[in-house]
Symmetry: C2
Subunit: 302 residues, 2 copies
């Protein structure tokens, strides 16, 4: 039997280590474990990497703990604009959406773009209209309301407008037993974001990338740094063109390149052998991975 692997993240740098009390830590670990198990069980039963990555991300979107789907940050105008992407490493096909509102699972809409169109990135009301035509599940604004995120917006508004803090994102990468890979990422953006800003999450090559030849990657952190570094595709190129291992490539991108530019964040990635790398350069990254050989990792602090 071939190895198969799932890795997930629930974002990086968006909460101070001191705020993670023993009680909250328990709740976070339980959520990570459930997201991981939900996706990994699919792989065990012969499911595809694409379905496993999407399923794990949908769990994290549905859980209000994380800044994606239900728990999305409030933007400047006090509503939720969400982005997501998913890429199939076998076919090299990707689907993504940006600035969508009231979509319960943005990653499911990204998957529809992948499956049902020749496009890669649809945005705003156009993307929502496409989802409605295909019976995607929508929710009222109240569904996305969480008291904690609302208080976060008020705190952020008292500081600078459109400041770039709170880097919550969720993501998953998978290798299935057929040797196919996939990556998926979803985010609610940062609190008080303005001007229709789009970050790295829905950008193929920056926040999300998968290619059966080498790896699948999902990023989290200061989106602008990951966009300018073309971070996810850089990991692929360092492996494919320079012969670096998955870990070496992820560490070079996150710990050297992005770190030296002043960016904070991290990434999760898997390679063709089912190795997982969970790399970050900040205080916190919610992360977990599991493979068919029994290798298992889970953590929040470094």
């Amino acid at each position: 039997m071939n190895n198969f692997t799932l890795a997930i993240h629930g974002g990086s740098c968006w909460i101070a280590p001191a705020e993670i009390t023993p009680e909250r830590e328990k709740i976070f670990y339980a959520a990570l474990d459930e997201a991981l198990t939900t996706g990994f069980d699919l792989l065990v039963r012969g499911g595809t990497a694409l379905d496993a990555a999407q399923t794990a991300v949908m769990y994290l979107e549905d859980n209000p703990l994380f800044n994606a789907g239900r728990g999305s940050a409030f933007n400047y105008n006090q509503f939720h604009e969400m982005d997501a992407a998913i890429m199939c490493g076998q076919r090299g096909r990707a689907g993504a959406v940006a600035n969508v509102r009231n979509v319960r699972n943005p990653v499911a809409l990204a998957r529809m773009v992948l499956d049902k169109t020749n496009n890669v990135l649809l945005t705003g009301q156009g993307a929502e209209a496409f989802g409605r035509e295909h019976n995607l599940r929508f929710e009222e604004d109240a569904y996305f309301y969480t008291e904690e995120r609302f208080q976060e917006l008020q705190r952020t508004k008292r500081q600078a407008p459109a400041c770039n803090t709170g880097k919550g994102t969720v993501g998953a990468v998978a290798l299935d037993m057929f040797g196919n890979m996939a990556a998926a990422t979803s985010t609610g953006g940062f609190p008080n974001k303005n001007y229709g800003r789009i970050g790295d999450s829905p950008i193929i090559g920056s926040g999300t990338y998968a290619n059966n030849r080498a790896c699948a990657v999902s990023c989290t952190g200061d989106g602008e740094y990951f966009m300018q570094a073309v971070a996810a595709y850089d990991v692929y190129c360092l492996m494919e063109y320079k012969g670096l291992s998955l870990r070496e490539a992820c560490e070079l991108v996150v710990l050297d390149k992005i770190n030296n530019a002043g960016g904070k964040g991290g990434m999760i990635a898997v390679d063709t052998q089912g190795n997982a790398a969970l790399v970050f350069n900040c205080d916190v990254m919610f992360r977990a991975s599991k493979d068919a050989r029994g290798e298992c990792q889970m953590g929040i602090l470094p």
Copy 2:
């Protein structure tokens, strides 16, 4: 004196060779020549690559012959949604906008994002509001109306909805006498485009990329293929990690990878020595380049 170079394109594949009568050919060549001269003169006078690339693209945006700015294609809803990006190879900073309306020069708005924000990609009404706050020049819908584009929309509507033809784009890449590089791309999208679709032009790493270490690249063609290939950054990685020349890297990406995937289009690029590569795999690419050593190229057909 160091070499310096400007290369420009006015899109690929968006017109059949048979439609380029001798009269129209003359008009196209005059426009290419003027765009090239406008940007190149800046470089001669010690201007920056960033300013030269932006100036050349603004000329092409202002010229209704090309699908960007004034000559933008009509979308499905019969208005113009435009995208643009610009990247500075010295600082690694990029600015981009997508789905903006009534902006006379989308590349100038992208430059404002680069200069005046910490963001990379702003979209839609948010991006327009940002432009208005900074006194960007806007135009009424009538400014963007061209009879030819309107007839093109009617023809496209009679075919399939949201079909993916008409790949008009404009772009410029430059190396200045200080050794700095820049890339800029602007597009009106394809006729009858729908659902808030965004192509490769405003995506850093896909349609636009610049890095003083190796090259500056601007793409044109089937956007979705260039996005999934992360085409512009792939050229950089093939040079930086694998030691390919500029021409070898561009040809591998356009003539092998994108061509084999079924995509049509091309790219213009410059390297640190001021060499220019103008590579495409289709019937038509409007293109020109000029450097300080007197090398000059201009063409439409292969």
